[in-house]
């Protein structure tokens, strides 16, 4: 088992590294105004990253397929979102569908 001091150092390094990633953008933006084109690109990059996070967290668990129950739930939520359903409906439908499938024995 990992010792107390090792654990503390691991947590500290992860915390500092994560915070450094988070704070770089806001601090830079306080000093310089980004050109319109860069602005547009960072906005689009964020959407791409969020889409990738959504895709991988829908499909993958521990480098393998997460199972059909989760996928179907997210697809139901995604379709509702595409049809401009309210946010709460999207989220509850996704969770509800997956929960119902699991209750029926789908993994």
């Amino acid at each position: 088992m990992t010792g107390t001091s090792t654990l503390l150092v691991a947590i500290a390094v992860l915390a500092v590294g994560t915070y450094a990633c988070r704070v770089a953008g806001p601090l830079l933006r306080a000093r310089v105004t980004l050109p319109e084109q860069v602005e547009r690109l960072t906005g689009r990059a964020t959407v791409v990253l969020l889409a990738a996070v959504a895709a991988t967290s829908t499909l993958i668990v521990d480098h393998g397929f997460a199972g059909p129950a989760r996928l179907v739930g997210v697809v139901v939520g995604g379709l509702l979102a595409w049809r401009r359903a309210p946010f709460a409906a999207v989220v509850l439908a996704a969770a509800g569908t997956t929960a119902a499938l699991r209750a029926c024995g789908v993994t």
């Binding site: 989760r70 997210v74 401009r84 999207v90 699991r102």
Partner: protein, 257 residues
């Protein structure tokens, strides 16, 4: 100066609409439950109670926290474990560049707000039309999630085995759905949609073989697919404009509801 900063500080309260409060409350509930399962899993895997609690306060990033506990208790080395988690968190770098201004003016707000940059607070800010509402959404979401997550982890760490399996509630499907719902307005802009689809496909294909975190970074290559073929100088709506709509023509799923 003082009066001005006070004005700015008060403004988000006026911008807090009921729809935002309801949506944030919904995600907070899910966060608290998943936080509870994180605390329970960490302690169940043999970590002392303080470890998941401290981790959640100072790192505040669910995916990397689950990964760290899995790698540390799985018998791997500490250095590769921390590096893998840092890789997962590199996506916060472009997040900060994209919505840094939504944190508000002044150093204290930027320094504190940076810690609250998570997928959900970023996407909430991105989905708001004007700067005041984007800022209100970011802070409301970021602060509430921070409290919900840490209370959940604390409770889970102490409750241990009594914490129910959140997968039974389908919460693992709720989080991708949250992100999808909130980026949907931006996806109605065709170059952004092409870039996002290409990036998501790349990440999904790479995820089984690459270490965690890397596939999402790789997804940025999808931006190449978003390059427009129309002549230079032609108006191209960016994701920001697409999210915020023109004259409210394309309201987002969270806006005005």
């Amino acid at each position: 100066m003082r009066a001005l900063s006070r004005q700015v500080a008060v403004r988000p309260r006026h911008d807090l609409d009921r729809g935002l409060a309801r949506d944030v409350a919904l995600i907070c509930g899910a966060y608290a439950l998943v936080g509870g399962s994180f605390g329970a899993i960490a302690v169940g895997a043999g970590l002392p109670v303080w470890a998941p609690v401290l981790l959640s306060v100072v790192v505040f990033s669910g995916a990397s926290q689950f990964l760290l506990v899995a790698l540390l208790t799985g018998g791997g080395g500490v250095v590769p474990a921390v590096l893998a988690c840092l890789l997962v968190n590199t996506r916060h770098l472009p997040y900060g560049f994209a919505i840094g201004d939504a944190l508000g003016p002044g150093w204290p707000r930027r320094l504190v707000g940076s810690h609250l940059l998570v997928d959900e607070s970023v996407v909430f800010a991105l989905a708001r039309r004007d700067e005041g509402r984007a800022r209100a959404a970011f802070w409301a979401c970021g602060l509430s999630l921070f409290v919900a997550w840490n209370v959940g982890v604390l409770a889970g760490a102490f409750a241990g085995a009594a914490v129910p399996d959140t997968d039974a509630f389908g919460l693992d499907a709720a989080f991708p759905a949250v992100l999808l719902a909130l980026i949907m307005p931006a996806l109605r802009d065709s170059p952004t949609r092409r870039a996002a689809l290409a990036g998501a496909a790349l990440a999904a294909v790479a995820a089984p073989v690459l270490p965690a975190g890397l596939p999402v970074v790789l997804a940025l290559a999808g931006l190449l697919a978003g390059r427009t073929v129309r002549p230079r100088g032609a108006a191209e709506p960016g994701p920001r404009q697409a999210v915020r709509g023109t004259d409210g023509a394309v309201p987002g799923p969270v806006d005005e509801r």
